[in-house]
Symmetry: C2
Subunit: 456 residues, 2 copies
């Protein structure tokens, strides 16, 4: 029996007291958000119409390395954190690999994922600012659930626009949001101008994330005392999510373990950016080296097949422009693709780091992802979310390479959440009905051709 336990839990005293802002250590800072009308960098004042003031400050600050975590957020974190850093002894044994595999499991809370780490922070600052509530959109419902939990706890109103087809087909997540007191509106709806317009134009539409974003933003800016919040992509979100990486690093340092490879799934980048933060910091400062791998779905390959350019964050093209690896804001991943990681772009921070060669990216096939998910579930006892399973796939692949070469590398990956609300996808996989959709070069070229003028 090794000295490393199956699960490492930090004590409350060991938990991080500050978030770490990776940008402070980046030589090339992420490109600023641009005003889509003027093409000029968005000012704090402009952003404060949509976002809370403190969150705007966090969004724009490229220099401050550490932001103290307010006590009320630290107390909330204690309700479901520290999350365990797990040594995957059972998976290693099953694979017969000399690799040492660790994963940071973020699914032990009712939202089922890491999203809660930023949801509570965003809700907290909204309350501090004296706001009445926040608005957001949600697709499958993971982010909406996390935000509902945070708002329910703080007594803040929460208006969630849920893509209509998900609202109807995934009633469970909707009900969880209602347990936490949120109002959940199927989008498009009659509650906004943009919703009415879309309904008039496309009667019977089942909605899209782009439309839900537009409705949430409109509701935030047209209701006094409300702001809009977002669960990924933004710098502020990566800042809050750094708690994942900080806890992981403290736990590993405690046992003298240093990862050779760090792997995370990447949709908008919230989990990956959080997991790698302190490790990437060391790498940027030249204090240590790590192989860092972003894993994305073959059906939505922003890093591996996208372009590094300014683009809209939303398909409705109402949000500021962000410079990022993108497939074009009109790119819509196939409906055959399960779970999240459906975003056409990628966090600006991660995009700059990838452009500068600080990390790698791979894309994986959907059925290979579910094969890994099932293998993992059987030996590690956790039914993983499809999103997280992209990282599992890559981790298993790296561990199997170690088996070939006989190298005992240490692998750390992020297990972002559980798949309890994704069983329709598992069922499709079991029944052999899962389709692997890979966009053609033409598909991607077509949406990239519509990149905004800002790219000159």
């Amino acid at each position: 029996m090794s000295e490393i336990p199956y699960k490492i839990y930090l004590s409350e005293e060991e938990m991080p007291k500050s978030w770490y802002n990776l940008r402070a250590d980046m030589k090339n800072k992420p490109a600023p958000l641009l005003n889509p009308g003027t093409g000029e960098p968005m000012t704090a004042q402009e952003l404060e119409g949509v976002f809370c003031a403190e969150l705007v400050r966090q969004e724009l600050d490229n220099d401050t390395a550490f932001f103290p975590i307010p006590q009320e957020i630290r107390d909330f974190y204690k309700m479901y954190r520290p999350s365990p850093l797990v040594r995957a002894y059972c998976l290693e044994k099953k694979l017969g690999t000399p690799a040492k595999i660790y994963y940071k499991f973020e699914g032990n809370n009712t939202s089922g994922s890491h999203k809660l780490n930023s949801a509570i922070a965003q809700a907290y600052y909204a309350k501090e600012q004296g706001l009445k509530g926040v608005t957001t959109e949600t697709g499958a419902g993971q982010w909406g659930t996390a935000l509902s939990m945070a708002c329910g706890y703080l007594g803040l109103d929460c208006k969630v626009y849920m893509v209509k087809c998900s609202y109807e087909q995934k009633p469970f997540r909707r009900e969880v949001m209602r347990v936490y007191g949120s109002s959940v509106t199927p989008s498009p709806s009659e509650t906004t101008q943009v919703g009415k317009k879309i309904l008039a134009e496309f009667p019977g539409t089942t909605g899209s994330l782009g439309c839900a974003i537009s409705e949430a933003v409109e509701t935030a800016v047209s209701n006094p005392g409300y702001r809009y919040v977002l669960g990924s992509v933004l710098n502020q979100v990566l800042l809050h999510q750094s708690v994942i990486g900080l806890e992981s690093k403290i736990a590993m340092d405690k046992y003298g373990v240093k990862p050779d490879i760090i792997i995370g799934c990447a949709g908008g980048g919230s989990n990956l950016g959080g997991l790698i933060a302190p490790f990437m910091g060391e790498k940027l400062r030249g204090e240590a080296d790590y192989r860092i791998i972003a894993v994305e779905p073959e059906s939505c390959p922003s890093f591996t097949r996208g372009k590094y350019a300014y683009d809209f964050c939303d398909t409705g093209m109402v949000c500021p422009l962000a410079k990022m690896y993108t497939l074009g804001s009109s790119f819509i991943p196939s409906a055959d693709h399960a779970g999240g990681l459906r975003f056409h772009g990628m966090s600006s921070i991660l995009s700059q780091l990838y452009a500068d060669g600080y990390m790698e990216a791979v894309s994986v096939r959907q059925t290979d992802v579910f094969e890994a998910a099932e293998e993992f579930a059987r030996v590690e006892g956790i039914l993983p979310a499809p999103e997280s399973s992209h990282a599992i796939r890559a981790a298993i692949d790296e561990a199997m390479k170690c088996k070939e070469t006989g190298e005992a590398k240490t692998i750390l990956f992020g297990l972002t959440g559980t798949g309890y609300f994704d069983l329709v996808a598992y069922e499709k996989y079991h029944n052999g009905e899962m389709i692997n959709h890979v966009p053609t070069d033409e598909d991607i070229a077509k949406s990239l051709a519509q990149l905004p003028q800002a790219n000159g």
Copy 2:
């Protein structure tokens, strides 16, 4: 800030190395199982036709206080245990009570409940005996999922008979079982004689737990290399579940905390029996005193309105007779009752302890249970299972009594699992469509009138 952390996790070294057999300290031992044909106590040999040999030994042993937990089971436990003992600071604050509330949370594993503690033990002994597989029945699917996880891990075949209406209406749990490699058959089925007979007699029936038990038992005894396993009621199950109470006690002792009141929900008694085991042991030996409260649904009130008598454990009347508080094996709780705790009887061990005055019982109303569940979810961040929420209801009630009297009592309750697969019930509650069914005295008298002859 108090010195007690929000969550207490034992280290792996501190985890229990033996299960505790409460019967060893009982002056009045639980009554033996009877052969329904002869009315004589079941012998080990008779029981071994249905159950694994080692499990029969555990079932019948009223004297050995501690059973060492085999290393392979301890390793499996490390995959998802220790479970956290949580100080419910947020709930206390919300209630404004001077009471100190603790709960032992067993839901942090994919089966979503404590059932896995016994599932892995039963699967392990089946494998040790060289068996090919095990059979069982499942209603909502919690026990079936736990057993599937255990068998998937050990490479043992697992045949689950799932009540047909659940199989069709709750496809998610079925899919989780399939992820873990189990074969799941809707019951009644054509795979057994009893199933065929029922289908011929009642074409189009959606099945019952009693019928599923009969099919699982028939499959076990008619297939060489198979045995039947059960997730509650039996002495062996309470033995395995003692790990819940042992961990709780070690954690509380570590911080010098002694509960005044211990509360658990009670269906067949697996969680309650496990949670209270070491505390009840002290009480039986006269070393300490605790108020111990069993909480059952008003719609299935075995302790509070049942009779202490010999009865069948199954509605099919094929299993041995057990002496227990029972509503009669023909009693079927209203379909309006959500979640588990639907069993007409109660563990023989707990029944004897209740008869001897060592514990209390209360019954609670379904809508009051969901009200407590939602209140809890909003402040403690965990969406509780309907079963567990019975204990939450009683814990909140006791905490509110403390608020009235100003007493700072220490309350420990068992939070057996999560409600992620019970959202249809939550939806009914939100929509005001939840019905509180209370059986009439005539209902209960009618089923009690059919108690078997063995009661003389």
